[in-house]
């Protein structure tokens, strides 16, 4: 089967039930918003291939159920994730407080070097806001991760969020490649080699 992409990234959406993970994903993969959506039971994923600096990157984005009770099942899918979106709802204080629990959850179940990003969703609901943008930023700084406020409904910065995460993963990956595969014959080799090596590295990552 011919590969239609250069890299495959596995991403994960986590956060409390109802913060809008499925809607954010639907916005990103279909550019649509649906108010008749159902809650997520178990786990599912969607695919979207994006262009990033001339590379085709296939994003496989996993959407998990938010309710605590299902965590034993959903964490089984953390393995092999290269990027994780931590989502909270800016109109729901509790979902923001729970982010630290989710981070702990990641530390226990995902690989240590997974790229993380914090999303404050439903940002168009300014009148119902309970979590200020500053608090979101502050938390992100604490954990040393990036932060963006989005709205799946009004289509605000959802694209940007995923592109940012994908770009960070790509940069991290290429840095690793360079470290493990130092250039011998200058630029020439670098231009031809990456075609093969990245797929090797990736297949190891996504095999898990």
């Amino acid at each position: 089967m011919a590969k239609t992409y250069d890299y495959l990234f596995k991403l994960l959406l986590i956060g409390d039930s109802g913060v809008g993970k499925t809607c954010v994903l639907f916005r990103f993969s279909e550019d649509a918003f649906n108010t008749t959506f159902i809650s997520t039971i178990g786990i599912d994923f969607k695919i979207r291939t994006i262009d990033l600096d001339g590379k085709k990157i296939k994003l496989q984005i996993w959407d998990t159920a938010g309710q605590e009770r299902f965590r034993t099942i959903t964490t089984a899918y953390y393995r092999g994730a290269m990027g994780i979106m931590l989502v909270y709802d800016i109109t729901n204080e509790k979902s923001f407080e729970n982010i630290k629990n989710w981070i702990r959850n990641i530390e226990e179940n995902a690989s240590a070097d997974v790229e993380k990003m914090l999303l404050g969703n439903k940002c168009e609901l300014e009148e119902k806001r309970q979590v200020s943008k500053e608090r979101g930023e502050q938390l992100a700084i604490e954990y040393g991760i990036k932060f963006i406020e989005t709205s799946a409904k009004a289509s605000i910065r959802v694209e940007e969020a995923f592109f940012t995460l994908a770009r960070d993963i790509k940069a991290k990956m290429e840095k690793k490649l360079e470290a493990s595969n130092p250039p011998k014959g200058g630029h020439q080799l670098k231009a031809t080699e990456p075609q093969r090596k990245p797929t090797n590295w990736l297949s190891r990552c996504t095999l898990l």
Binding site: T36, S39, I43, R69, F70
Partner: protein, 618 residues
């Protein structure tokens, strides 16, 4: 060889013991009363035996050579009978003899008045009825002489451990089987691990330890019944194949009986329903009704009434008058509970985080439940309020369980059908009672089901299970959604109603929904394996079956699978337990079937209804 027989010692005897079941050559002795002995032979391999001899022998036996019939051993006719009874004896009683080494388990039943011995190949060796009292004393004696473990799930079943059978070769098999468990006790796990690395050494060194572990300290270490059962099974399977001489590390896959088609019947009609009620409105033949529903479902216009019975809101044997009374009581009870949360003040709520948490979840889910259906569509739809109120009241009814996602999916069709808050609530309670383990805090119920599904699928489609195991999918998590809400997310509303009402009958066995899963997976086997799908594609493929399943076809297949399993010769107790089938041999005693599994009707009724439906259809 005869001289050994003189050295025979009677250790124990009990009179008034009736022979109920035995191998075919004893047909003339069935129901005769006699004496049961435990005897010991000094110079014999099979030192101890259980022997039964009829009291007065007036039986016209066609056996001329006065032989001992040795039940179910490798060497039949090991000895002649002539020397143990006076040669001048004019009567020729046959003795039934069971060597202790051949007893793999035994079970008491009927208030301990009945004792059944098993040979470990799911066959009854013999069954005795104790006419004067019970067999308690005999059991005490037996347990003093045999090493036994009581089965945890059936306190009347004792599994016998034979030291002699602990040879290396059989261990290959038992360890291979033990390995399928995901959470074995650490000790076992270590053994399994090192077994993989150094198969033979580990086997020889450690099996004795495992046996000790199983046998010596059952009080200190709580070994899981499945593992115990597996050990037992592997021991007995080994023993029974011993004579064939060659051992295999991987067990051969035994053939299943041929799959038969059980075409679906017609839905239960209003007329049939009426005819099955007596003048007071009682349902007389509940089993028959359930069978008809199992076979064909319920006509849509009748669901409104029948679901209340299926969901244990109305007792089947209630009269019209009693139901009227019940409705009033249940109405009051419901509104009492509803008031409890309705009256909660803001301060109370602020100080009650568990309640708040449940309430928030419900609010979110009510807005995400079947909103594409007219009944729940649009903003400010009053039916959403009903959905909300019922779920909130359920919290007060069962606060510990609370609200878990998926529950609104289970309530939605019920409310849609009944369109009445109180009725829908109580029917929902009935449904939840059937499947509340799906929502366990630790998800133990779901995990057990996934494990059981793995076991059942392995019995029907070992190849597919093998494939799934090798592709990181042996945990069966990809079936999680199917099981959690009983296919609510995969099927259309009509199909879900049909499937649920069939499953609610509890027929033809427990956990039939797992066989429904097996049926679907079997259908998808080719797609999964030929495309060489991996972990992600398997999940995707299964998730994408949503909207593509044909309920009737799946049920036909699932029922066919059920009969295949039931009739399979290599059926194990593990599978029997999952499906709630009577454990080894019990099928011989009809009164037991009723007492052990009240939901499974006898074969006769089954055939009868099935035949009558065939007539209707043709």
């Amino acid at each position: 060889m005869g001289d050994s027989l003189t050295e025979c010692m009677e250790i124990f005897s009990q009179d008034g013991v009736q022979l109920k079941t035995a191998q075919a050559s004893f047909v003339n002795y069935l129901n005769l009363v006699g004496t049961l002995y435990i005897t010991e032979y000094a110079n014999s391999n099979c030192r101890r035996c259980l022997e039964w001899k009829p009291n007065d022998v007036t039986v016209d036996s066609d056996v001329q050579d006065q032989e001992w019939a040795v039940v179910n051993t490798v060497q039949k006719r090991s000895r002649t009978y002539s020397e143990s009874l006076p040669p001048d004896s004019t009567i020729k009683p046959k003795l039934l003899k069971v060597n202790f080494v051949d007893i793999k388990s035994f079970k008491t039943s009927n208030k301990n008045r009945q004792l059944t011995l098993f040979d470990g190949k799911s066959e009854i060796m013999c069954c005795f009825m104790f006419q004067h009292g019970n067999c308690d004393y005999l059991i005490t004696v037996l347990r003093g002489m045999l090493k036994t473990i009581p089965a945890k799930r059936d306190k009347h079943l004792f599994i016998v451990i034979h030291d002699e059978s602990l040879e290396a070769a059989q261990l290959d098999k038992s360890f291979a089987e033990l390995n399928i468990f995901q959470d074995p006790p650490p000790t076992l796990w270590k053994l399994v691990k090192s077994f993989h690395d150094r198969p033979y050494e580990t086997t020889l060194e450690t099996f004795a330890k495992v046996t000790d572990y199983v046998y010596r300290s059952p009080e200190q270490r709580d070994i899981d019944d499945d593992q115990r059962e597996l050990l037992h099974r592997s021991l007995t399977e080994y023993a029974s194949s011993h004579s064939q001489g060659d051992y295999e590390v991987i067990a051969k896959v035994p053939e299943l009986p041929e799959r038969k088609d059980y075409p679906r019947g017609r839905p239960l009609s209003a007329e049939q329903w009426k005819n099955l009620q007596n003048h007071e409105g009682k349902i007389e033949d509940v089993e028959q009704i359930k069978l008809m529903i199992f076979r064909g479902g319920v006509a849509p216009n009748l669901r409104y009434e029948v679901w209340k019975y299926l969901l244990d809101y109305f007792p089947w044997n209630s009269t019209q008058a009693e139901r009227q009374k019940l409705l009033c009581e249940k109405n009051d009870e419901y509104y009492n509970m509803k008031l409890q949360w309705k009256r909660m003040t803001k301060v109370q709520e602020d100080n009650f985080s568990d309640y708040r948490e449940r309430k928030n979840l419900i609010e979110k889910d009510v807005n995400r439940t079947d909103r594409t259906m007219d009944f729940y569509a649009g903003d400010n739809n009053p039916n959403l309020q009903l959905l909300y109120d019922i779920l909130m009241t359920y919290i007060m009814y069962n606060f510990d369980l609370g609200y878990v996602q998926g529950m609104s999916d289970l309530l939605s069709p019920i409310l849609h059908l009944l369109k009445n808050e109180v009725d829908a609530f109580w029917c929902f309670v009935g449904f939840m009672n059937k499947i509340s383990s799906n929502f366990d805090i630790d998800q133990a119920g779901m995990k057990e089901q996934l494990q059981n599904l793995h076991t059942l699928l392995g019995f029907i489609e070992p190849q597919l299970v093998n494939y799934l195991d090798k592709h990181d999918s042996g945990n069966m998590f990809f079936c999680f959604r199917w099981l959690l809400v009983w296919f609510k997310r995969e099927l259309s509303y009509d199909d879900v109603m049909r499937l649920w009402e069939v499953l609610w009958t509890g027929l033809p066995c427990e956990n039939f929904h797992l066989l429904v899963c097996v049926a679907i997976l079997e259908t998808e086997k080719q797609a999964l394996m030929e495309n060489n799908y991996g972990f992600t594609e398997i999940l995707k493929h299964i998730n994408d079956l949503c909207g593509k399943l044909d309920v009737a076809a799946v049920l036909v297949k699932a029922e066919g699978i059920f009969h295949q399993i039931k009739e399979a010769e290599h059926l194990t107790d593990n599978i029997r337990m999952i499906l709630g089938l009577p454990l080894v041999g019990v099928q011989q005693c009809p009164e037991e079937i009723l007492s052990t599994s009240p939901d499974s009707p006898d074969e006769d009724l089954y055939e009868r209804v099935y035949d009558s439906m065939q007539h209707v259809m043709t």
